[in-house]
Symmetry: C2
Subunit: 345 residues, 2 copies
């Protein structure tokens, strides 16, 4: 039984963005951020959300020291005549090479906080994922995005047998109403029945979408998923890479507790969002295509030269689909090279 109060948001949410864990971290290196991708993504987000930002000097909001980086520069006068109003975005990121080692070593997703190893692993997992969250918040702030880190655990989000039990959206709403960009993340959370578990970024996205009704949702991914087969009866399967491959490549916090594989969860979550009537774009991070998706340019008619996947409720005038199968039939794949093999980006 889910206990979530719909918050009062005074500004409509334009977009919820998922930064895939595999895209923003170096997947084969423990706790290493993919700085190049994160910097480009941050810059694209600024251009998409801050009005007229591209033509003027970026006013960084991370005034903290960074080891091995130039000192802090912040001139109060620069801010005097600037309009920092941004449209309302929410950022959610995955864990990638942060949190995975800690969570899997201790099996946090299975619960059992009375076991010393699980309790220690819970602490270690939160340290790792909040470290990544802080780095993402800082990267966005350096681009002049008024980002505010919000840990689901701290916000009071809990699960019950791994399903969302309560998710207080009031701080997300208050942050947005005050003109900030909330930055949430996959997290270790308390579970009413099994003690604790892992709450994935994709589940968070769906929850936020259901209650905050953004205009569109963008999943920024690495390029690991290339091909999906959609059969005539509307069912689908990942053709390449195989699920065994994707387990090591995508969204580790999902893969760690989802025996059906991370990407399957991602597609299912995206499908459930589309079911709400909200367009979902899945696109490779840090490309011209991701920039166009973030800006909302691909809403409506999809440009011919855009590479990515749209999951959209099919406009057949029949109302909402009544089953997931029916919904998945309405997934529009672009740049497909055959009728059965489709590209994600």
């Amino acid at each position: 039984m889910e206990d979530t109060t719909a918050p009062s948001v005074t500004k409509p949410i334009r977009c919820i963005v998922k930064l895939g864990g595999a895209a923003i971290t170096c997947k084969n290196e423990l706790e290493k951020i993919n700085e190049e991708t994160v910097d480009i993504v941050s810059s694209q987000l600024r251009e998409a959300m801050v009005t007229g930002s591209s033509s003027r000097k970026v006013l960084g909001m991370d005034w903290s020291t960074r080891p091995g980086k130039p000192g802090i520069s912040c001139d109060a006068d620069d801010f005097e005549d600037r309009n920092l109003d941004s449209s309302s975005f929410i950022v959610v990121h995955g864990a990638g090479s942060f949190g995975h080692f800690q969570a899997s070593k201790s099996a946090v997703h299975k619960g059992g906080l009375n076991k010393p190893l699980v309790k220690a692993g819970f602490v270690a997992t939160r340290i790792s994922v909040t470290t990544l969250n802080l780095e993402i918040v800082r990267a966005l702030a350096r681009e002049g995005i008024p980002s505010i880190g919000l840990s689901p655990f701290s916000c009071g989000w809990t699960t019950s047998e791994r399903n969302m039990a309560s998710a207080d959206l009031s701080m997300v709403a208050r942050a947005i109403n005050s003109g900030f960009i909330p930055v949430l993340h996959g997290d270790a959370v308390l579970d009413d029945l099994q003690g604790c578990t892992i709450l994935s970024g994709d589940v968070i996205i769906r929850h936020l979408a259901a209650y905050l009704k953004p205009e569109y949702v963008v999943f920024l991914t690495d390029s690991s998923l290339r091909e999906i087969a959609v059969r005539e009866d509307g069912s689908w399967s990942v053709v390449k890479p195989t699920l065994a491959d994707t387990n090591t490549q995508v969204e580790i916090t999902v893969a760690a507790h989802d025996t059906t594989g991370g990407m399957v969860t991602k597609i299912s979550e995206a499908a459930l969002i589309a079911k709400l009537g909200i367009d979902v774009y899945i696109v490779k991070a840090a490309t011209t295509h991701s920039s166009r998706a973030l800006s909302g340019e691909v809403r409506g008619a999809i440009p011919e030269d855009w590479l990515g996947t749209v999951i959209r409720f099919g406009g057949k005038g029949n109302g909402f689909p009544t089953s997931d199968t029916q919904l998945l039939q309405s997934i529009e794949f672009y740049k497909s090279s055959s009728t059965s093999l489709k590209e994600f980006n």
Copy 2:
């Protein structure tokens, strides 16, 4: 009007500890942690809260990489037969040389989020103080303390004209009930009337003490405050250092918005806690005296050889004091060298 629900805590809280910002950071160096003090304090906290911890190998709970430090070592087998039960502590830390530069440059404490500089400063301040929080959580976790960072902002704490407006203690309570040690901090928060402000660690402590009723409260400080004069009418003043000095030495987040000086606020807050019937110990961090205060050894009769200050409701059998002046008369100073000049530690 304050809106706080008293949470349901299944374990009684033994102690709330304040780690003073000036004690845990290097005050003259921007965003530098006093690692030696933090390590000793963490070790003393472990000994005070984890049963029988001193005789066995410390099982670290920070499994994340650290630049320039040895790699992660974590042997799952080590946790097998260990009892990690700890008595319930809550840790709150100040900001010291984190957050001060950012908050003062933008005057976050005065509010006005519609001003671009204040908005940017709010973001920058939160980045700085959450960076410190993460480092403190990690230091405690390395000592085997199951610490969980909880940002007041994320927990939904807000103010109204700088006074506490709402403070949801439910996540603090849930973390404690699950056997974790919550670690809170002075933070930039939203304010109902002026948009935003700074919520100091000392105000947080008083609030937690009022609702969670710990057995005792310990303020770990640096040694900046040496002498207080208590006059015959019960009024008091800081003799050395002067308030001008203390402004640069103590609890910067307080000093930044409190024109009466940080240490005056600290004493007033401590006095308000004592008024609740809860002993407050103010003691220099990382000394044998702080270790004894944390363990609860100085409760009841104060040992002759203990150096520190107790703020305790005087046991005159007259019930609670009716005024702050009356309360302050009951402050017990130890190791005083004269009737008017008293030592804090």
